[in-house]
Subunit: 334 residues, 2 copies
């Protein structure tokens, strides 16, 4: 892999998460789709927040979480995403920049406030997400800096970016620029319902533009409309160069042509909140990949940092991922 | 104790906490007073935030934490404190109101933003706090609603309120109103350095106005300028009706005239962050007291909820305090 200023540039919705505990009755009485990400407007967000218990705020956003995880592993990351010039925007910018991530997207000076995601964590540690996109809808092709894309080994895109209308154009532009510069494009499918909203476009993308695909079991089955995981696996082997498919407590499958690895999940002592598990897995995998490690080791690192992420509230690293991985693998990452 | 709409009304600085891990070298190189609360201006706050690692935001404020804890125990609380009409102010208001706490202080419409406290948590779980008071300096006597004070069994005041200039007047006014209505006044000394800033006034208050005093070992020794805990204990027995003195892992001493209880600390499996330990203790004690429980049981409930609070990041309850206490005491609080 050619040298570059950044290992990975992530492009995604720039979101502050608002996390609170809730029980299943709350989800049912408010007709919230458990485990999914649902888009909501500002009025619904305000009403739902009124009903939400006391909360904790942390920076979030799927691709942003991945880049934060990559940085915590010692990787060099950049992020592109839109916040407003408000207090939540300042929190988002602080949290990603303080990790050493390059983040220079211009702040929106007017319009809707910084995006937030109301996350209800049920006693089974499952998270149910309601996203008010706010300033994310302002992200467009002009926010893509060609130099940053060309100087990143991998351009990593979240499927959620298909929701804000102009962001899709930014998404396509960035992936074309990346390939033109001889770099790789990676996509996370994000959410099974999101796949359902844009299935044809995602299939086309995966087949024609994506080099490294991340998906969980529900998402990959939704993409190919299959009943079983194995059927989806056979489809994706034809579809793109490398796929990393996560299966929660059942581990992960990494596939690249003839090469297939079936990896176990890492042990989890205290499951607290599954928010960000997939994002962390992608961080670990992409860190290993850009360090030119073998694919099974990339997957193992992903599994280690995902297991850490689900043992506390919030999607961002709570410890140094690098130290965690070094201690678990009993080897230096230098 | 006469019936009342509220068990406790708390008056304090309304603050959003910004918590991050840091090591001792960071504290030393920035000359931060470990374990203390230091006031900072907006420029210092901005500079220090730039240097701070990725953070988590939670509502805080000493008296506000206590009222939140009281509500989590099933007590009826009200809170008086000043935030601005900004995003952090909305978070503060949400988090306290959603617990069922009465919070009707008018928002500041102009001036400085909502207060924040930068909290650095070192690997020993000790917290070091740097507070930018922001909108708290707008709190004044006009914010004290006589009806709320008269309808609260206890008026609870934090010593930190002596820092913003007008708040001191609000503090005095509220304590006089409370006594005029035949209610009790309670004070937390807050911080040993804060005691040092206002020692003579605090001594006068404790002697002439305070019915229930909360202090930790450093604070009570600072108040009476004694070398040993026991010397301070003898002073405070003369000084006020009831004193609840906390000593971290060495438990607590409750003293009221002839009645003295020396209580053990509760076991702590995973010490994470000591922020809010004293606030939680006061919540448990005041809950028991307003339910007319014996003093040793009030102290035990305080110790139980304090032990829970220091096992996660942030000062607010992470579980139902009521369920926790019922499970620990193996009895219903109904």
């Amino acid at each position: 892999m050619d040298a570059a200023k950044y290992d990975v540039v992530g492009i995604g919705n720039a979101i502050v998460d608002v996390l609170a505990h809730a029980d299943d009755d709350f989800l049912q009485s408010h007709e919230l789709a458990k485990g999914a990400m649902t888009l909501i407007d500002s009025e619904t967000a305000a009403n739902l927040y009124d009903e939400m218990g006391p909360a904790v705020e942390c920076s979030g956003g799927s691709a942003a979480n991945t880049i934060a995880g990559l940085a915590s592993l010692g990787g060099k990351g950049a992020f592109v995403g839109k916040v407003r010039d408000d207090q939540l925007g300042a929190i988002f910018r602080h949290d990603i920049r303080t990790l050493g991530v390059g983040f220079d997207t211009l702040l929106a000076q007017s319009g809707t406030p910084t995006a937030r995601c109301l996350i209800f964590v049920t006693p089974d540690a499952q998270r149910t997400m309601l996203t008010y996109l706010g300033a994310c809808v302002e992200l467009g092709p002009d926010d893509i800096d060609p130099d940053v894309i060309a100087e990143s080994k991998i351009c990593y895109l979240e499927g959620y970016l298909f929701d804000p209308p102009q962001a899709k154009e930014a998404f396509i532009k960035a992936s074309e620029m990346s390939h033109d510069a001889g770099r790789l494009v990676s996509l996370s499918l994000s959410d099974a319902f999101c796949v359902g909203r844009y299935r044809d476009e995602f299939r086309d993308l995966v087949k024609n533009h994506v080099d490294i695909l991340f998906a969980n079991e529900d998402e990959i089955k939704s993409l190919y409309e299959t009943k079983t995981f194995d059927e989806a696996l056979q489809h994706v082997r034809e579809g793109c160069d490398i796929a990393a498919l996560t299966r929660s407590e059942n581990g992960a499958v990494i596939v690249s042509g003839e090469e297939v690895h079936v990896l176990d999940a890492e042990p989890v002592a205290n499951l607290a909140d599954t928010t960000g598990a997939g994002d962390a897995f992608a961080a670990g995998f992409l860190f290993g990949f850009t360090q030119e490690m073998p694919l099974d080791k990339c997957g193992r690192i992903g599994a280690i940092v995902a297991a850490e992420t689900i043992q506390h509230m919030g999607a961002r690293p709570d410890v140094s991922f690098r130290e965690l991985v070094e201690n678990t693998l009993e080897e230096s990452l230098d």
